[in-house]
C-alpha cells in the first residue's frame, strides 16, 4: 500500500513515515476494498457469479486500482458470456498497470483468435436481434435466434434467461425449466433465474401434487427424458384377448394378402426376367452390328481422305507435266539454257529464269535441275547485276528511290558478291527514310564484307540511324 500524498510505501502506522500525512482513513478504505475482493473471490469460487459481481464492484468503488478485483470481475463477466464487459474491465486494468498484469494474457487470448472474436461479435448481434424480435412480437424468430446464440456461446446467461422467458410465455414449462437449470449451473445465485425457476416450479407442481396424493391412483403413463425430448409412454393400453376364431381369421386374411401381393409383385418380376433372357441374343447381335457399322464408317472416311489426297497430288503433277508427258519446268529450263548458249541474250534468259523461280521452289527440285539453274544464273548473274546496278544508280541520281531500290535489289539478287550494290541499296533506303530496311541492309554489308570501306561507312550510317531511332 502506497501513500496517496507522496507515493511512499506505508508502514503499520496511521501516518506516512515519509511525508507525515494521516493515512488512517485511506488505509481503512483500502482494507474495505480488499475485504470486498475476498468476498467476491469466495462467491466466484462457488459459482455465485452475480454475488461475486456485486462484491467486486463494491471493491472497485472503494479502490479503482485494485487490479486483482478488476481482473476477477472481467473473468466473471466472461464466464457469464458478457465478453464486451469483460474486455472493458481488462483494458482498464491494463491501463492502470501495464506491466505484470494477467489481463494482458486475457486480452491477447481473445484478440489473437480473429475467428473467435468474430464469433463473439456475431453472438452479441444475434442476441440483440432476438431482443428486437421479442419487442416486435416475433417470438418464434426470437427463439430460433436465441438457440443460435446459445450454440455459439452456451454460457450466455442473459440469452438463457430470455429463452426461458419466451418458453414460459408460450407455456412450455419443461423447456423453460431446462434453460433455467442451465443458468443455475453457470450462475447459481442469480435472482432473476431463481425467480423464473420458482414460477416454473409452481406451474409444474400442481400436476405433481395431483399425481402423488394418498389416493395413489395408478399412473396411466410413464414419463422419461431422452436427450431433449420428454417421452410419454401409456401404460393402461392393453391388448384384448383374442378368441381362437379371430386368430384363425387373421391368419387367413394374412395369407390372402400375401398371395395377392405375390401375384402383383413376384409374377411381373418373373415375366420381366424371362423377357430379358429372350432378348439377350438380339442385344448381342445388335452390339455386333453396331461395331461393324462403326468399322465401315471408319473405312469410308479413310477412302474419302485418300481420294482427296490423290486428287490433290494429280492436280499438282499436272502443273509440272506438259502435253507430251515430260515435266514442263525442266523443259523450260532446258530451252532457256539452249537459247542462251545460242544467242547469248542474258536479258531473255534472266526473264525466263525469273518465271521458273516464281512457279516452283528451286530448293525442292532435283540436284541436276538445281545445278543447271545455278550454272545459268552464275553465267548471266554478274553482268546482269552490273546492268541493274547502273539503272539503279541512274534512278538514285534523279531521286527516284523506288526504282533505284527495285534495281539494286535485282543487282544483289543476281550477284550476291556485288558489295557496291548492297551498300547503295542501304543508302537508298536511308534516303527514302526507311530506317528499318536501311539498318538491315547495312548490317548485311558489315557481315558479308568486313574490313572494307563499305563496311566502315555502313557502320557509321547504321549507328547514326540506330541513335536517331532511339
Amino acid at each position: 500500500m502506497f501513500c496517496y500524498n507522496c507515493g511512499c510505501h506505508l508502514s503499520e502506522h496511521d501516518f506516512c513515515t515519509a511525508c507525515g500525512v494521516d493515512v488512517s482513513l485511506y488505509k481503512k478504505i483500502m482494507h474495505i476494498s480488499n475485504m470486498f475482493y475476498n468476498e467476491g473471490l469466495e462467491k466466484a469460487g462457488v459459482r455465485d457469479l452475480t454475488g461475486a459481481i456485486n462484491s467486486l464492484r463494491q471493491s472497485l468503488k472503494f479502490n479503482k486500482n485494485n487490479i486483482e478485483a478488476r481482473n476477477l470481475l472481467g473473468l466473471v463477466y466472461f464466464e457469464m458470456g458478457e465478453v464486451v464487459a469483460a474486455l472493458s474491465e481488462w483494458v482498464i486494468s491494463k491501463n492502470l498497470r501495464a506491466e505484470k498484469n494477467i489481463a494482458d494474457d486475457y486480452i491477447n487470448m481473445i484478440q489473437s483468435n480473429a475467428s473467435r472474436l468474430d464469433s463473439i461479435n456475431q453472438t452479441i448481434k444475434k442476441y440483440n436481434q432476438a431482443l428486437l424480435y421479442c419487442n416486435q412480437d416475433s417470438r418464434d424468430l426470437a427463439v430460433i435466434q436465441l438457440k443460435k446464440v446459445l450454440s455459439l456461446n452456451p454460457k450466455f446467461v442473459r440469452a438463457h434467461q430470455l429463452l426461458a422467458l419466451l418458453y414460459m410465455d408460450s407455456e412450455q414449462w419443461e423447456k423453460a425449466e431446462r434453460e433455467l437449470t442451465k443458468c443455475k449451473n453457470i450462475d447459481c445465485n442469480n435472482t432473476q433465474t431463481l425467480r423464473y425457476l420458482q414460477e416454473v416450479e409452481q406451474m409444474l407442481a400442481p400436476e405433481e401434487a395431483v399425481r402423488q396424493p394418498g389416493k395413489r391412483k395408478k399412473e396411466d403413463t410413464v414419463r422419461y427424458q431422452s436427450d431433449n425430448e420428454v417421452i410419454i409412454q401409456p401404460l393402461s393400453v392393453r391388448e384384448n384377448k383374442n378368441s381362437a376364431v379371430s386368430t384363425l381369421l387373421n391368419i387367413g386374411l394374412g395369407l390372402i394378402i400375401g398371395l395377392v401381393a405375390m401375384y402383383f409383385l413376384a409374377v411381373p418380376a418373373a415375366e420381366d426376367a424371362a423377357a430379358n433372357e429372350a432378348k439377350k441374343p438380339l442385344i448381342e447381335l445388335g452390339n455386333q452390328l453396331d461395331v461393324k457399322t462403326a468399322n465401315i464408317k471408319e473405312l469410308e472416311t479413310q477412302i474419302a481422305k485418300l481420294q482427296t489426297q490423290n486428287e490433290n497430288l494429280n492436280s499438282e503433277l499436272q502443273g509440272y507435266v506438259g502435253t507430251d508427258g515430260t515435266l514442263s519446268t525442266i523443259d523450260t529450263l532446258l530451252v532457256v539454257a539452249a537459247d542462251y548458249i545460242e544467242s547469248g541474250d542474258i536479258y531473255k534468259a534472266a526473264e525466263k529464269l525469273e518465271v521458273i523461280a516464281q512457279n516452283i521452289n528451286i530448293d525442292a527440285t532435283s540436284e541436276a535441275f538445281q545445278k543447271l539453274y545455278n550454272t545459268l544464273l552464275g553465267s548471266i548473274g554478274p553482268e546482269l547485276s552490273q546492268t541493274y546496278f547502273r539503272t539503279g544508280a541512274e534512278a538514285f541520281r534523279t531521286e527516284d528511290y523506288a526504282t533505284a531500290i527495285e534495281n539494286y535489289l535485282k543487282a544483289v539478287y543476281y550477284d550476291a558478291a556485288n558489295a557496291d550494290a548492297l551498300y547503295e541499296l542501304g543508302n537508298t533506303y536511308r534516303r527514302s527514310e526507311d530506317s528499318a530496311n536501311a539498318i538491315i541492309t547495312y548490317d548485311k554489308v558489315i557481315e558479308l564484307f568486313p574490313d572494307t570501306d563499305w563496311a566502315r561507312k555502313s557502320k557509321r550510317y547504321r549507328d547514326d540511324l540506330a541513335g536517331g531511332s532511339n
Partner: protein, 49 residues
Amino acid sequence: MINFEEELKKFHPSLEVEDAEEAIYNQDLTDMADLLVKTIKESEEKSEQ
C-alpha cells in the same frame, strides 16, 4: 405471476465489440479513495485561508 412484457423491459441490448471503446471512456472511475483525497485537500485549503 410473471408478466412477460414487464420482464422483457429488464432485458437490454448487449454491447457490441465496436462499442467497447466508448463504454470504457464513459466509465466513471472515481472511487472512495479519490473522494477522500479530494476532501482532505479541500479542508486543508480552507484551513490555510
